[in-house]
């Protein structure tokens, strides 16, 4: 647990907290981007180059932009009328604590199951590629089908609006 790890963890947690606590929704989205960046830097700290850069490319480069577009094109950028905290916050806190407990138990218990590795594994991009099309080809193909169906669904949703409007105009 080095100093760099604590710094990056603080950055990630601060980004997550800011994403929850800020009043302006676009500010929250940008704070979430800071949390993503913190996660990517944590990956890089663990020498997982591919995971770190893919995190930046996908999360900051695509997901964050998607989130801000969604906020912009809906009415989310106005300050909310009723305040940001919900009335059932105690139940939410209890559920979050339960999920955290389960995750913590799983993570701490996994150290017993993994073999004792003394050296940091040198994973090259080529090994990741070979694993993706070798051992993990089924998840890869399923994810590809899922993404294709999401793309087709987006096109259909956009198309339906145009066709619906034309039908209304012709009446």
């Amino acid at each position: 647990m080095s100093f760099v790890f604590y710094l990056l963890a603080a950055l990630t947690v601060a980004g997550g907290l800011a994403a929850m606590l800020l009043k302006n929704t676009v500010h929250c989205a940008l704070a979430l981007t800071v949390a993503f960046a913190g996660l990517a830097l944590l990956f890089l700290n663990l020498d997982a180059q591919f995971a770190g850069f893919a995190q930046i490319l996908v999360y900051i480069g695509a997901v964050a932009i998607l989130v801000v577009f969604a906020i912009l094109l809906t009415r989310g950028s106005e300050t909310p009328r009723d305040g940001v905290f919900s009335r059932t916050w105690l139940a939410g806190l209890a559920i979050a604590a339960a999920v955290f407990a389960v995750l913590g138990w799983a993570v701490l218990g996994s150290a017993r199951v993994l073999p004792h590795e003394t050296a940091v594994p040198e994973v090259t991009v080529q090994q990741i590629g070979v694993a993706l099309v070798g051992r993990y080809v089924l998840p890869l193909e399923i994810v590809a089908v899922l993404l294709t169906s999401a793309l087709i669904g987006a096109v259909i949703v956009a198309m339906h609006e145009k066709v619906g409007h034309e039908k209304e105009d012709s009446k």
Partner: protein, 391 residues
Amino acid sequence: MIDTCDQIFVLLQHWLVSYLPASWQPAAGVLLSVAAIVCLFPALFALTTVFERKGLARIQNRLGPNRVGPFGFFQPIADGIKSLTKEDIVPKSADAAVHFLAPVLLVITVFMGFAVLPMGRNMVLVDLDAGLLFYFAMGASAELAVFMAGWSSRNKYSLLGAMRAVAQMISYEVPLLMSSVVVVMITGSLSLTKIVEAQSQYTWGLPHWYIFTPWGFAGFLMYAIATTAETNRSPFDLPEGESELVAGYHTEYSGFKFALFFLGEYVAMFSISGLGTTLFLGGWGAPFSFLTWVPSWIWFFSKLMLSIFVFIWMRGTLPRLRQDQLMNFAWKFVLPMCLLNLLVTGLWRFMGDGWLRWVVCSAILLLAYAGMGLAEMRKQRLGPRSYRYAE
């Protein structure tokens, strides 16, 4: 002697760093390289602004700046002094924090891209195994800065410009990545130094650059189109078109922040041209085998400046594309050609050496290009001009 010229910057770095104690030497070496990059590319940017203004002027049959210095070559100094001394106006209703951070984020992500470009033999700042992925990750982060600029200005023109710019940049990011993937497929590595090394062989005096192969040529054309759109450069510069949107997403920026946006755009142009030369034009390799005595960094920067001149030439020559024309072009023409290029590259790889694969791959690509072009043109109903007057 030739090797000394070639490695002169590396030797200079080692010599300067040797004056420090051994534990400080790696960090000092990296700092020195970073300082060199941060000083060199803005200087090139200054030179490029003059070339652009003079070049565009000559294309448009006028003179361009000719008052400041000999033939106007000190114009960037005057521009720099002006932008430093101008009042920094921030609109009252603008979001001050995001308004300040947008140009900062843009400049940071754009300069990070230079860390993986091999600018000469042994002249990479960081030789990453996943170098190409790092470069594209930084490019993707720059889009967020554009959005932040447009949104934080609380100005309809800025917001429209930012949304158009981000939509354009996202649409063209897919062809950009796909046209680079073919290079990775053939080289077998994401590391930019290995890609350059794979192109540094010579057959009958001609180099093995990827642009001289059918899939490489198609890939280079797609890459060139995608980079012109990614850097919001004419003919894809609707987001910052002065006659359309005032100034697009940098309307509300004045003084040094505007200069930073300008700097960010041009330096992004440099770094993406640098990546293009690395992937398709052989990086720091010489074009003929009898010219390998010229230092490698001279070849890299010559190819870079050649790409910049082509950008300037295109800006002065081609008309601007409308937003919907631009998006149609990306999704209906460039992306299918990139996917076809992937297939053709796979075919190339598995057909083995010989003249047959050249003929087959070129035929497939040319037929697809002609076919898609004809299909798109048939849909355009281009008749005589019709006028609509206000009643």
